[in-house]
Symmetry: D2
Subunit: 338 residues, 4 copies
């Protein structure tokens, strides 16, 4: 078993990490960090468990550590659910101390030698880990993309063979994407907020890196543009995307690409039966009904029609955050980087 920890284990993403790592067949959860005032207490006593799945009682007895490199330096691997501003320094320190860091934070995503990975899309980018080692890092940092970027990029992956140069996407993003207290009830109830800070910029840059080519020590960004309009909607979990892509092929041929898509690997514990699933009903996918497909790890696609337009949907705190990091870690382990 690999000893793992979670940096920032009490927030919305941190709790999802706990849920996904409790009982994990490869990873043994040993360390949970939180703010200074929670340190030294039982996790069960300080966490305000807000998920609608049962609290994993066996994790509750862990003693919470402060969010420092000392707390995690004995781990083989840590998952980071820290906010970007806090994450930058501590993730670097942990990696320097020999720890593998799988981070959901945005701080290092665009660093040239840090892989930004969706296992189904760019597993080869993990090769940058070697570069990090060469440059003197004992451990490594691997990041997963922004939640909306993951849904978009995974939905585009089956279409890569057709080629495309321009993507437009309007998002309808869930409340949980902003953390437990990020969106006030008065802000979002009976309302739409057509703005999410930094989100459109991430969607413009991250997919190009992920679908880019690793040439030696450099990633050449993929040659397409993404223009995004990001909206927050009154939905608890599940980001819905209306996507246009400039592919000029018959609908049926493109639909078949979705239907026949299979992940380029198998056997990872958190991997869903289908990473991308095409739903045939005319009014699907829908967040309340489809976000939990594949235990929240499947991106559902539907409504492909002339344009070329389609709808994509995924669970933002599972496939779009904690689950993304855990799946990355499983791939890293399988590829023997640990």
């Amino acid at each position: 078993m690999i000893n793992v920890g979670i940096l920032g284990a009490t927030g919305a993403v941190g709790q999802r990490f706990v849920q996904m790592l409790a009982g994990h067949p490869w990873f043994s959860l040993q360390v949970l960090t939180a703010s200074e005032r929670s340190a030294g207490k039982r996790y069960a006593d300080i966490v305000n468990w807000r998920l609608d799945v049962p609290f994993p009682e066996e994790i509750g007895d862990l003693t919470v550590s402060p969010t420092t490199v000392d707390a995690v330096k004995e781990c083989d691997l840590v998952f980071s659910a820290l906010p970007a501003d806090v994450a930058r320094g501590i993730e670097e320190e942990a990696a320097a101390a020999g720890v593998g860091v799988c981070s959901n934070a945005s701080s290092h995503r665009m660093d040239p030698d840090v892989p930004l990975v969706i296992p189904e899309v760019n597993p080869d980018h993990l090769g940058l880990i070697d570069l990090q080692h060469e440059r003197g890092r004992d451990g490594f940092i691997v990041t997963n993309p922004n939640c909306s970027t993951i849904m978009l990029t995974l939905a585009l992956e089956p279409l890569r063979t057709f080629g495309f140069s321009s993507v437009q996407v309007a998002t309808l993003q869930a409340i949980s994407g902003a953390g437990f207290r990020g969106v006030a009830g008065m802000e979002i109830y009976d309302n739409v907020v057509p703005y999410i800070g930094g989100e459109e910029e991430k969607m413009a840059t991250e997919p190009r890196k992920i679908m880019g080519s690793l040439n030696g020590s450099e990633i050449e960004p993929a040659p397409f543009t993404v223009s995004a309009c990001c909206n927050r909607v009154p939905v608890i979990d599940g980001h819905t995307l209306s996507v246009w892509v400039d592919i000029d092929r018959p609908i049926d041929e493109v639909k078949e690409a979705f239907r026949s898509y299979a992940a380029p690997f198998s056997g990872l514990p958190t991997q869903p039966e289908r990473s991308v699933e095409y739903l045939e009903q005319p009014d699907r996918p829908q967040p309340r009904l489809d976000r939990n497909r594949g235990n929240g790890m499947t991106v559902s696609v539907g409504r492909l029609r002339e344009g070329l337009r389609f709808t994509a949907l995924g669970h933002n705190t599972i496939r779009g955050a904690a689950g993304a990091s855990v799946l990355n870690a499983e791939l890293i382990y399988k590829k023997k980087y640990l």
Copy 2:
């Protein structure tokens, strides 16, 4: 005073017509029609008033008529809030009987000799009324567009001067657009439905007719395409649109076009101070906060940025339905077609 009636006065749009015509300075509401089983009763006794504005008590005493041409043939003008399948026949009969019909139904919108009008955009299309008279119709039919089309087209009007050929729009549409019982609570709560029957087709065709040129007796559709992705979201009133349009001009110049836009007429009672209002805050417009601008008759625009992308928003049952018809009727009256 012009004697007016409402065809289908008990539904979501019918009630908005009642609200907007009660106390109207030019129009005197005399006739309300509903289903056979309500006929003969007081309106107050059969309407299940569901608006969050007070019931206009003075209208409550009107005796409801059945939805037949006999009921409205003494009116100068009737507003139609009927469903499309019922509307077609009775609107034609009423127009044949010399009544002016302002319809929110979709049945006749694309008829070549029926104007599809947004007063600020194509007031000249009312010239088709003369054509209807020449062809033997004593009265006339004038239609207003689909709710989402109105928000989009009115938001595009200030940009007409720049020229454009391609529009993409993702809608986030309110529940009230489907009528009082059109969307079940279980369908839409904590959910998004990425499909609204017929809506994308209407958005593809209606704006081109509205912004088209009336050449003699024919309307030449405007030479642009509209590709829409329509979504239902958990919002009571107010449609939000994420819009892309292929205008290659500096942002400030386009923004100034929005800011300086003024309607080409004035003095209509239902006309808002600003038909299109550009909001400067980075996170606006929002349906709960902005749908009631201009008493629900203003289309709010914001977030103009490179792309060219922006957000537009309007009240779907006021500017997008009943208010649209009433404003059309006011223009018709002012232009002396009555």
Copy 3:
């Protein structure tokens, strides 16, 4: 394995029955009935699956039967998810034909010889099955209570030892309680509806029968009154109850009764670890966080304080409907009435 069927398998409660019976260790689901126009088709082809759990594919191939006694007469047991008006006749016919009927419908709940059962509260009432047999019924009818009644009565059961004569309860009931299309989005969003037809009457009578004494062939209603105020609130699943009961004992003693409560039986597959669970946090139970405790079969209680007041909560379509019937059937089977 016992062969079972579901009367009315496509609605909100019918789908929950399918979910709970798919893969059941004792019951083999063989028959699904629906309206005439679905008969003869594959269940997967006609059901509009609206639950947020995956569709059980192995059930999808069953051919749907019309809702007639012929369709179910080969079953050992049928579960009824029919509306009350349809249920009355067909349930009687099925029971006459030798089938055991476990019904969620209200039609027969107050029949003197029909047990109205919550397994934890009045398992002995199943003795009325013998009376039904004596009176010539080859099969039997056993009913479960109304959803709100179940939450209330199960929460009162640990307090039975203290005695009480007066209960007041305000309910905050979920949308799903009215079926998939029972509550319109426009009715309930940003709203409360302080009226649910027939609900307060059921809460006044059903708990008294359930907690009553079976004396020979008659049930003597328990000597307390229930005064209910029933409200519908914008929650998908999970009924919350504010309860007052006239027990004059120290809070700690009553709290201990909740904490130490254990069901009077064990080993039923659908039985939760704890039928009643007392939550210690000051702001619990809450429907989104607690409705799925015990796979939706646990009634959560909290906030016990002077008055005597407390909050109770349960999943209305699981513990309050389909799960209630399935648990009844398991008890019936274990007690060898099948």
Copy 4:
């Protein structure tokens, strides 16, 4: 015109004060206070206007002051929308400096010489102002009750003639009652929170003071008890109450008391046509449809039935907060305490 100010003008209640005082016929709004970092700026530049009514442009030009006694000492009257902990000191200082204070804060509500007033219920309690003067306060402090207390007490006022000794009430309270950021979206969406800190205690004590008798310099609390269960529900504005009261009279007689109730004064600008309105429909009042009756100043009552049970509803930030204070101020002015 009376010069007035608002202490804490940027929050949910502060903005309602601005809305209600803009254009007030008796009061001229001169001073707005906010936190230190907003001081010196235009109100329009610092307020994040979150109400769904238009921003009163004429107020936007006022320069914001810091929340100190100096800022308001030239006012005849100030309205306090401060949080309780901040309010206590500054309200006392302002009153000492000769200013009349109408406070929505809870700090001074239970002070023996401070009137806790609902104009329709206990206008005579304003006599305590004289007592405050005698004790050396140049100005005065008058408070209005907690929002839920106001709905309850105003609904009980028409029943005072019958006498009662025991009231039980379950509340379904709106999100806005906790301020703009008081309730997170993740907390309340698809959820109920059965706990609101301090609310049940306020409902137990405040109604007894309000309906108590002023004997000389003391208020004798009314001899009844209130037992409350307070719940937060996903509603933007409008508190709904399920109420039991131990009155043993025929329903029709009690209903008539509601129907014939009239406020004991008239001519106050903010006073609604009916302070208490009995709604005859079986499923009313409902927050979305009835909260704006009487411009948000009417308490609606309905569903009176045996028990004695009924439903009451009012707008929590208008009748339950800002409007309550403004109506108090109008009564104070009319009674010449200013």
